[in-house]
């Protein structure tokens, strides 16, 4: 079983290398805690596709708002990869 939480954190730290990702609150929105804009969320989606062949359609972007929602939304997708 893939560690989806860690996968998302790894992607974020590659996209925004200056951000501190060590103390993220899973329930709080990522945007509130980090300097991420809509361009960065696109990059998270693009990296998920590139690295893990996981597709996130545009209407589902809001489901990536928090780490917890990322895990619950993406885990089933990783299970089928």
């Amino acid at each position: 079983m893939a560690d989806v939480r860690q996968i998302v954190i790894d992607i974020i730290s590659d996209i925004a290398p200056d951000e501190d990702v060590s103390n993220l609150d899973d329930a709080k929105s990522l945007r509130e805690q980090l300097d991420l804009d809509s361009m960065d969320f696109l990059d998270i989606v693009m990296e998920l596709r590139k690295r893990h062949k996981v597709e996130v359609p545009q209407e589902d972007y809001p489901k990536l708002a928090t780490l917890a929602s990322c895990v619950s939304y993406l885990s089933p997708k990783f299970a089928t990869v």
């Binding site: 590659d14 200056d18 300097d35 361009m39 960065d40 693009m46 590139k50």
Partner: protein, 467 residues
């Protein structure tokens, strides 16, 4: 040959777009007419007759606007770094000392700290500082990235806030000459972009000039194995009967792709397509620049500004020169006055005047050369007037005209800021063909790269072209 996307032009926006597409495994082809990258922000060399070897010159880049300090977040430049996965240190940015707007009897200094401009206005226009603060609030809260904004006059907005006409002229002067395709005025959305990038954020220069940026971008392009071809001019954009662009012809060869991003200018792009109902208009603003290499640097006690925006009357005329070139206003750039530049050795000064394309175009070879010499003489006269104590000698001078700009950038009429008909969302009359760069209305090096990035994201990566 089939690709996922074709980018026309390897300037700042085209390279940035190409990098974004290649980063996510799109098969991208970048086609450039010139033999080197950069477009309007490029470089050239001249043989150095006294010392042998060659001298390298930048064109375009006086300054990289949108300056930030390392670690600053949420700014255009920091977005650019993240999107292209570049690090701040790669740019080796040297901040400006300060720059100034110099009108008869009054000057306003500004720097990378906005407070300097505020204190200058408080001191020199005490009745206007509250009005100016209200204007800055409007600028700060304005969303210039909204792609649906239509043209509104900056002068009209400024007059709502500021009473003193001289102050309006002085605020507008650097913003117009560093970005306006329109004469004497500019679109308010562009005013906001320029205000933020010049006055809120400020100027820096990469050590090594424009080549530092271009080599960073070219390294990315090469690392990502993007296909980039120089000396390859697109002669035709292929459009099918349903009005969808599907490829280009370059050097006689056909290339196909479902998305085409063109950075060569809006009017220049539609010249390659089938006829359109209304052709985007070519702007009239064009410039010339004299570059002087001096036998020593100008000492800081004689001039400590990085850029001087000079005007010899109370009214700033931003329009084509009446007679070839206009020395009554100028931008004088002192690249040696970026901090941490070497203070020894030869000095450089660049002086830009507004020009008149249609007059330059009529000159025969010998009158062209003698007119260029007049430009050089007027530039030196202005430098003498502004820095009378400097006793250095000119070792070398080179002058480019609107004809030079047209010849090397293929911008019709030698425009620098492009068409006066912008396409803010990049759309053209043809499906799958999008404009990036200056004619999308984002300005400066950072602006054009962000334009390429955002259009590549929207039309190349998110698949909006399929909607």
């Amino acid at each position: 040959m089939k690709y996922d996307a074709i980018v026309i032009g390897a300037g700042m926006s085209g390279l940035a777009a190409g990098i974004r597409l290649a980063m996510f495994d799109k098969k991208v082809l970048i086609l450039e007419k010139h033999s080197i990258p950069g477009g309007l922000n490029s470089y050239y060399q001249r043989r150095n007759f006294d010392k042998g070897g060659v001298r390298q010159f930048d064109v375009g880049l006086h300054a990289l606007t949108n300056f930030i300090k390392k670690g600053e977040k949420g700014k255009p430049f920091s977005k650019l770094l993240k999107q292209l996965r570049l690090s701040y240190d790669d740019f080796k940015l040297c901040p400006q000392t300060h720059s100034k707007i110099l009108f008869p009897g009054v000057e306003l200094k500004f720097s990378n700290e906005f407070e300097l401009l505020l204190s200058e206005i408080s001191e020199k226009f005490p009745g206007e500082i509250d009005h100016f603060l209200k204007l800055t609030e409007k600028v700060r809260s304005f969303n210039e990235l909204d792609l649906s904004i239509t043209y509104s006059s900056s002068r009209a907005v400024l007059k709502e806030f500021i009473k003193d006409e001289l102050l309006i002229e002085m605020i507008l002067c650097p913003l117009l000459i560093y970005g306006s395709a329109w004469e004497d005025d500019m679109d308010f959305a562009q005013f906001v972009i320029m205000f933020k990038s010049l006055y809120f954020e400020g100027f820096g220069r990469p050590e090594g000039g424009v080549r530092t940026i271009l080599s960073l971008l070219m390294k990315k392009i090469n690392d990502l194995n993007a296909d980039i071809r120089f000396k390859t001019a697109v002669s035709k954009i292929l459009v099918n009967d349903s009005g969808e662009a599907f490829g280009v012809i370059a050097n006689g060869e056909e290339f196909y792709a479902p998305v085409i991003l063109s950075s060569i200018g809006y009017p220049e792009t539609v010249r390659l397509t089938p006829e359109v109902a209304s052709t985007p208009r070519i702007g009239a603003m064009t410039f010339m620049e004299s570059i002087f290499i001096l036998d020593k640097k100008i000492p800081l006690h004689q001039n400590d500004s990085t850029i001087i925006f000079y005007n010899n009357s109370n009214k700033y005329a931003y329009r084509p020169a009446d007679h070839f070139f206009d020395s009554s206003s100028a931008v004088i750039c002192f690249p040696d006055n970026y901090e941490s530049q070497n203070k020894e050795g030869e000095g450089t000064v660049r002086i830009t005047f507004m020009a008149n394309y249609s007059q330059w175009r009529e000159l025969d070879k010998s009158s062209y050369e003698s007119m260029k010499n007049k430009v050089g003489e007027s530039s030196l006269e202005l430098m003498k007037k502004l820095i009378p104590a400097f006793d250095g000698k000119v070792l070398f001078q080179d002058i480019f005209s609107p004809m030079t700009i047209e010849r090397y950038t293929w911008h019709l009429s030698g425009t620098v800021y492009g068409s006066i008909d912008k396409t803010r969302d990049g759309r053209t009359p043809f499906k799958n063909l999008y404009i990036i760069g200056t004619d999308q209305g984002f300005l400066g090096i950072v602006g054009s790269m962000l334009s390429g990035i955002s259009m590549a994201n929207l039309h190349g990566l998110m698949g909006a072209n399929e909607i």
